[in-house]
Symmetry: D2
């Protein structure tokens, strides 16, 4: 078990529940409602998501981000299909093979420097169509923002979507931190998801102030037709569904997503400005959302982790990842960067 500051930079998953979200859960805690989603809270939250993502959107609530990604993909895939994704994608490196186990499918990784696919680098895996010895590419999956914190513009998504359509592929988006991308792009959610040609979206909230629960949103009704069986068989059907639903409803209608993601992104900019002034530190990725990737002196990694636990991204190059959160405070950053400088100059 790692010691940790009350506000550290390891992960936005380390933060707690936003007070308004917790208050909403308490409000929904009265009397009986039918379990497994056949209740008024769930209906209301689904309507809220349809108002946000478009009338044809078909939202479903699940339990984890991995669950959202894997079940969303499962609804698009036969076992002989394959998913083209960035080598760094969460589905490829951080889900312990859950996509392969549950979908029985192959992932086709694409090497990138910034975690972003594009119509050119996708081509290295867009092959083998009609050849029975080769898996058949069927889904392109991107992360928005990427695991490196970079953000796809609406145009970039559209160009990938067009490529997907041309080859009869689906476009899936891992949006575990979609709010941070929306703030960065200064766009409505719908504008860079449904309107940009996305077919299925994992829309997360846990990393941005929710207690638990994620959602899978289908932008074409026919893709959602059998999802409730996939969700149950995928062990992702919550019995007391109302308590996920009320969180999403509150998250959207009270614009908690926006306040929280804006704050986290701003904190990342402050942290970025502080650290880029330290000559011993090289920031390695554009800081577009709430993550900072940086190469730091090897000698400070262990003592810094001891006070502020965080993950080393690449052992070979001393590249680390720092994440800001909706509850990061400017003074947390001040203390942190102060301590970094101390360690460097020891």
């Amino acid at each position: 078990m790692n010691a940790i500051k009350d506000h550290a930079f390891a992960s936005d998953n380390n933060s707690g529940i936003h007070p308004e979200i917790l208050a909403a859960i308490a409000r929904a805690n009265r009397g009986h409602v039918i379990a497994y989603g056949d209740d008024p809270y769930t209906r209301k939250a689904e309507d809220t998501l349809r108002n946000t993502f478009g009338r044809e959107a078909e939202p479903f609530f699940v339990l984890t981000g991995t669950g959202a990604n894997v079940l969303g993909l499962a609804s698009l895939l036969q076992p002989y299909h394959a998913v083209i994704c960035a080598e760094s994608a969460h589905i490829n490196v951080d889900e312990c093979g859950a996509p392969e186990r549950f979908c029985n499918c192959k992932l086709l990784p694409v090497n990138t420097t910034d975690g972003k696919l594009n119509p050119d680098n996708i081509l290295q895996q867009l092959q083998g169509f009609g050849f029975e010895h080769h898996v058949q590419p069927k889904v392109i999956s991107i992360s928005q923002p990427t695991e490196m914190g970079t953000v796809y513009t609406r145009d970039e998504i559209e160009s990938i979507s067009q490529l997907a359509k041309k080859h009869d592929l689906y476009l899936h988006v891992d949006g575990a931190r979609l709010a941070n991308a929306a703030v960065r792009l200064n766009l409505e959610f719908k504008a860079f998801t449904k309107d940009a040609g996305i077919d299925v979206l994992s829309f997360g909230g846990t990393k941005n102030g929710m207690l638990f629960g994620e959602s899978v949103i289908f932008f074409r009704k026919e893709l959602a037709e059998h999802f409730r069986y996939i969700r149950k068989q995928g062990m992702q059907l919550a019995s007391k569904m109302r308590f996920i639903a009320i969180q999403f409803d509150t998250y959207i209608t009270q614009k908690i997503w926006k306040a929280n993601a804006s704050h986290a992104n701003e904190m990342a900019q402050i942290l970025y400005k502080e650290t880029e002034q330290i000559p011993e530190i090289q920031v390695t990725q554009k800081v577009e959302t709430n993550g900072i990737f940086a190469r730091i002196p090897r000698k400070i990694i262990a003592p810094l982790q001891k006070e502020y636990f965080f993950y080393v991204w690449d052992e070979a190059t001393n590249e680390v990842r720092w994440m800001t959160s909706y509850d990061t405070q400017p003074e947390d950053i001040e203390d942190f960067t102060h301590f970094i400088k101390e360690l460097i100059h020891q």
Copy 2:
């Protein structure tokens, strides 16, 4: 969406969160802790479970009851193995094939009248050992209490456990409502689980006052060795784990499990006494926990469901299931049975 009374008899899953559980979640909501279980709340809750179930117990938190069952089984099984279970078992009829999908294994159903396996009826499926054309039985899985609300005595469990050991099989228990069985048996949890020879237990709390979260408890350390990979790959690793942990810790240490299950069981006895006096109703199973199974006049099913939604267990025989809950009130039962009599005499 079905209308529902504030306190109906459809399912203990339809009730909300016990106030002390919700208060505990709020208490755990301060500052950052490491995600995915590497935090003090989780350590504390694990200790509490070890104090309850025995020092060698290895507890893990997951998200749903289906998840607890399937991942617990997955840790015991190779794909050519099979699970012997009652035909009526939750894993066999209520999990949409999740065990088959995730474990790739076959279930071998045993016909029973009361949902209970025993060394005799297990024999019908305890075969094919060493024959490569036949799946190899490897796990016996029982539900305690059963899906019919009946309870295994400690001796009954031991007799199954001995059979299992004799044939080199594991004994798995689906304990989604284990608290209700403990109250009925008037035994400590450990006495009729670990001490009775159980290898792996799904220990649930959501049906008895928790918000979400279940646990898988291994009674032999070597069975737990790789479970964290199975849990992550099974999409059942919660990021903000502390909020499941604090629920279980509170559930046990504040004896909420006992108060809630005792109340629910008592309410079932009241409901049983009320309904068995109605000559048009035949109770079909022993009422040992919080469920009542009864054949009722066909004509009253629809109008009764309209006011008090519940599930029909067997369409052919007009057998229905009514569940009491930790928050069922005597006046709910009075109103309910009053309405039943009205409908019968209309």
Copy 3:
């Protein structure tokens, strides 16, 4: 390893290759042809099967009977689907869980006395439609002839097919010994397969004189659309396909199927007549193809197996299975029944 007479009654799988089949393989062994089925022998055999089973038939060659069954089913199923079959079906008891492993699906077994499904007994498993907690029945699978050697009439198949269509299910047939049924029914293959409403057929030949290789025949083109990927991913794509193809072509065009199955069925009738006269033996199933099921005195089982290896079907009742083959000789039966009588009277 079991000793065995040159012509025993254990299984039609124990016989060798019909001489004309082996001669055909030798004829196809000249020069190079494209591997994996893109060759003239395969085209010719496919045409032959289309001439036999109907113009719309889409035949594919695979390697084993289990492969034919499992891959045929896989082409019809999503993991949340289920297959209704007789409890005694080969897919349920003799394939070591291959359907569950490869299709990730549940089988829903129906108890029968003679291995035959019908619109009545199917109803016990034809349920749960639209209920997300329950697997969704999608395929009815029958064996023709059954594992008990009994045969469905054309009308019986049609009645099942109509039930299947009514509920939007597919009808799959395990025809590992289809030739024996055709002879018994005295019908063309097409009359009791395609014309009776079957969707997918496993059409075997190995038990009736072929060396190896089975076929999967789709009676609706759209069901076959992706089968070549399923076959390759299912490890059932033979490289030197011509040598399976030439066997099927010869089997059909030279009517080897008919000569061999007629002979085997006749031998079964002779064996039946001989054994039914022995008062200590009770034949338990109608003898309609090439299998005899009989209860025999326990004391003779071991010594009889020692000379003529065969399988005990039900240990509890001393029921055994004897199979005749295309190469069984009347004198083999004479010797066998003579020896049985000797053992009984010892």
Copy 4:
């Protein structure tokens, strides 16, 4: 369907059955033997393989090369494990995702230029141990010879084996063309398999003169313990096993493997010498077995394929693959290279 010369250069899979192999099949075609491998031919062939690969070797016969690879891997893997292999490995690009489907596992591809892994390039994927979000590497799989026709020396295999042991991984070898490597290395099979530290081997013969059938050979008895269930569940258990066994027995004892592979390798050298003299052709890989990889003028690809079908390995660079076979004749090469020159100079 592609037209093809009687002896072309598309694949060694396009050739037929070696006459002595076919004669052996005919010899085994007498009387009944127990199906599924419990017969004297199979025992004899197993002994022959043990004499060849070492007393502790546990050989099993299966049906296809993909089956041999996938089932061999399945016996080593849990679903949360991963297989490190060359990006170009057959299991990674030519098996339509069969390993992922049947083993439920992830493959971790390593980029190479010549298809060969080594202790350095393996490191890029040898990571994530003990981290529950990451699949756990458990097997290193190499192809001997590689898909590029290159051969690992005994020392090279040992260095990989040592790395595997150090990290508690298994070493698997895809030996679909192992005979060609043995001839190149001028070593007994055992010397560069068991003695070099290999754990499980796919040992093929179909590409070198057999009709069908492959084998999986375990070099540690405990790894083979449950393989017969995996084989049956994997749809790779042949009923008339004797006809695979007799092929392997004859292949080894009559040294057909050596005669055929030596001839094919020699033919590749002749073809190499002929083509390297053509200035418009660049051979891209060392010619160590029976494959030639070469960049050829784009304009000649289509007309050359029309007469002599072959596969384009890399569309982008006009790299093609030509394979020689046990039945390739010097005059075939003469005709082929003559035609190439004609096409170039047209």
